[in-house]
């Protein structure tokens, strides 16, 4: 049956994040990881050997010609996303893109246009938005429990000493340093892709500022990288406050939506979705009750999470599995893309405007 056809998947770009893709695809029903590719063949080889992938390549053209792939996961740095996408589409493959989608919003538009013109499909790995808490929040929103969003706070912590942080802090030549928005550009998708869907489709007002909190003592290319970003946005009747924070602890990943009916906090790391309790009873007694209500809500989140763990649904990349299930399903049977293309482009636009404000010199200097 066409519905259950196993899709042949390829990965191009065998760096760190490719491990996550390989791990997820390995366990997905209806998909097989057929080949991996990196212009550095030793990197392609190690990924293939570790994940039992039957074929590896140092040249994507060769992989596309031989493997008859349904979908290619493009997990390279963003500077080459556009040409690789064109090549995949020309070979008849759909593309699953790692973020950031492209170096600039016009490039992102060109990329999506190329996919559409080729009659193929694409989506971008906004996986935290498909994690169980994010899915639960979307349902609450759809059921009208939050009311109209009034204000949104999206906060993402980043650990410069963590495994990803160390990789770029120890290498001035790391591709992240060459992005127009440097570290922010590599992380901003995950901030603005939570805000944009809650905003009306009008051009938002954006005020961004950024600074470097760590001491710049390395005297190399890493010193130019700012590490704290704050952005205020307003679109129609909704405002937002977005932060990328490299120094506050614990390293957090949260979304708080203040709605006309309720205020809800989504914690992506702790996997909780909590509606903030309000004072329903008068006076001092009234102030005693809400913390107990909150305790009860956290307790029920714990129970839910334990249930998911017992059912083996509590993986780190649970959101990527969900997103890929939806994307592969779209490929098999048509239907709506898991993330509307217009939303992806709006996120790219916001990112460009933030970069223009916080790194005016790289933009003016034509780094993009």
């Amino acid at each position: 049956m066409a519905e259950t056809r196993r899709l042949r998947i390829g990965i191009v770009g065998c760096g760190k994040i490719a491990d996550g893709h390989a791990e997820v695809v390995k366990h997905l029903k209806g998909a097989e990881l057929a080949a991996v590719c990196d212009r550095e063949p030793l990197l392609a080889e190690q990924l293939a050997v570790r994940y039992g992938v039957p074929a590896w390549y140092g040249d994507m053209g060769e992989m596309l010609a031989r493997e008859n792939l349904d979908v290619v996961h493009i997990t390279t740095p963003p500077g080459v996303h556009l040409p690789l996408t064109r090549q995949c589409v020309a070979a008849g493959a759909h593309v699953f893109m790692e973020k950031p989608l492209a170096l600039t919003a016009p490039d992102a538009k060109e990329l999506i246009d190329a996919v559409v013109a080729g009659g193929r499909k694409m989506t971008v790995n906004y996986w935290p938005n498909f994690d169980p808490p994010a899915m639960e929040f979307k349902q609450m929103l759809a059921r009208g429990e939050v009311g109209e969003p009034v204000h949104v706070e999206a906060f993402i912590g980043y650990d410069l000493a963590g495994s990803y942080g160390q990789a770029l802090m120890s290498d001035a030549g790391h591709w992240v340093h060459r992005l127009p928005g440097k570290l922010f550009q590599n992380m901003m998708d995950h901030i603005f892709n939570r805000i944009v869907p809650l905003f009306p489709d009008v051009e938002p007002e954006i005020h961004a500022f950024a600074y470097k909190r760590r001491e710049g003592v390395r005297n190399d290319g890493t010193d130019a990288m700012l590490d704290e970003l704050r952005v205020f946005l307003r679109g129609g009747t909704v405002s937002a406050y977005a932060s990328l924070c490299s120094h506050a602890r614990p390293v957090a990943n949260t979304l708080k939506v203040y709605g006309t009916k309720a205020t809800v906090e989504v914690d992506f790391y702790n996997r909780t979705v909590i509606s903030i309790a309000s004072q329903r009873y008068p006076s001092a007694v009234g102030r005693l009750v809400p913390p107990l209500q909150m305790a009860g809500r956290y307790l029920s989140e714990s129970k839910k999470n334990i249930g998911q763990f017992r059912r083996s649904e509590f993986h780190y990349f649970a959101g990527m599995s969900k997103l890929l299930e939806l994307f592969y399903e779209e490929i098999r049977s048509g239907g709506e893309p898991p993330i509307p293309y217009s939303e992806i482009l709006r996120v790219a636009d916001v990112m460009d405007r933030v970069t223009e404000q916080v790194y005016p010199e790289t933009v003016a200097g034509g780094a993009r």
Binding site: C14, G15, K16, A18, D19, E23, K26, H27, E40, L42, L43, E45, Q46, L47, V49, R50, G52, S163, Q166, A167, D171, G173, F309, S312, F314, H315
Partner: protein, 339 residues
């Protein structure tokens, strides 16, 4: 003779430079990834008035940077390798870096002798019975994907050296050190145990630890570099090895108290099977940090020989007893950095 040492600023690299100078090899070019590492080497050079040390900062990921480092050298001792990071980074800094270096070496016009610092991890120990002798005749690992990424990346690195030697025919000597220890090194090899959820699991029991004190290991590398036979492998372990239990007891008495939970081998093996099965059943919800294969490799327990190394004239500079004294004195003074 001019000798290039890669990874010269590292824990082992610094000792290699010192032993080269001690053997009268005064022209040493030290390849560093980070210029700040030169200071320690300059201190060492002060003890050798004849020494002519050169420093060159190179990222082995960039082939163009390697060419001037290799130019004019008669020997390369390759000690640079990745010890941590993501799998892709470890392969970049061990396998890809080595391939880049080899490409430059084989394009040099003058003949060059190449010395690779490999690892015990490249040997197919899991397929040996427990207590079997591990020596240079032990076959290489056949299932690196079932081992840890460090062993896998070091295996690929060593294979590259043999492949290039086969193709281009340069002189090659390979050393496979066991657990290199000493002041400035790690406190506990995984062969002793692991910290898990705030407790130290003692997994090594009465296994012998294939220890080699950092200076003894560096001495072995230099002796093999100067006197080892082309195309030969030399395992590096010291004499009078201690067991994991002895190491832990001595650590407790000399460094600091350690609250440990001893896990006997049969329990570890049973637990490893459970962890592996759970990881498979849950589709990787928890990683298979223990598997029977990894357990056999790391905690199966073996005998070790350094006879081949001794046959070319290597002798440990200091005894294991003294090495441990020195290491533990340093550990006591400088607590281990958080991993």
């Amino acid at each position: 003779m001019k000798i290039l040492v890669t990874g010269a600023g590292g824990f082992l690299g610094k000792s290699i430079v010192e032993r080269l100078l001690a053997h009268g090899q005064n022209e040493v070019r030290c390849m560093l990834r980070d210029t700040s590492k030169a200071r320690g080497l300059e201190e060492i050079a002060k003890r050798y008035p004849e020494a002519k040390l050169e420093f060159i900062t190179v990222n082995l990921r960039n082939p163009a940077e390697i060419v001037p480092a290799v130019a004019g050298c008669d020997m390369v001792i390759h000690a640079a390798a990745a010890l941590k990071g993501s799998p892709a980074e470890m392969f970049m800094d061990s396998a890809v870096a080595s391939r880049n270096l080899l490409e430059v070496i084989v394009n040099e016009l003058r003949p060059m002798r190449v010395v690779l610092v490999s690892s015990f991890g490249v040997m197919g120990v899991p397929e040996l019975p427990r207590s079997a002798m591990v020596d240079e005749s032990t076959p290489m690992e056949r299932h690196p994907e079932l081992r840890d990424v460090y062993s896998h990346s070091k295996l690929r690195q060593e294979q590259l050296f043999w492949e290039y030697r086969e193709k281009y025919g340069f002189d090659l000597v390979v050393l496979r050190p066991g657990v290199i220890y000493g002041p400035g090194g790690g406190h506990f090899s995984n062969r002793v145990g692991l910290s898990l959820f705030g407790r130290f699991l003692h997994l090594g029991g009465s296994n012998l630890l294939p220890l080699t004190y950092v200076d003894n290991c560096a001495e072995a590398i230099v002796v093999a570099a100067l006197s080892g036979a082309n195309g030969q492998v030399y395992n590096v372990v010291d004499d009078d090895l201690v067991t994991s239990r002895q190491y832990l007891a001595l650590y407790r008495s000399k460094v600091k108290p350690v609250r440990s939970i001893p896990v006997p081998y049969f329990a570890l093996m049973w637990g490893s099977q459970m962890v592996e099965r759970y990881s498979q059943r849950s589709k990787g919800q928890l990683p298979a940090i223990f598997t029977p294969y990894k357990t056999r490799a790391m905690w199966g327990g073996n005998q070790f020989s350094n006879a081949k190394l001794k046959s070319i004239g290597w002798r440990p500079l200091i005894s294991t007893r003294e090495g441990l004294e020195r290491a533990f004195a340093a550990f006591r003074a400088e607590p281990e950095k958080a991993k």
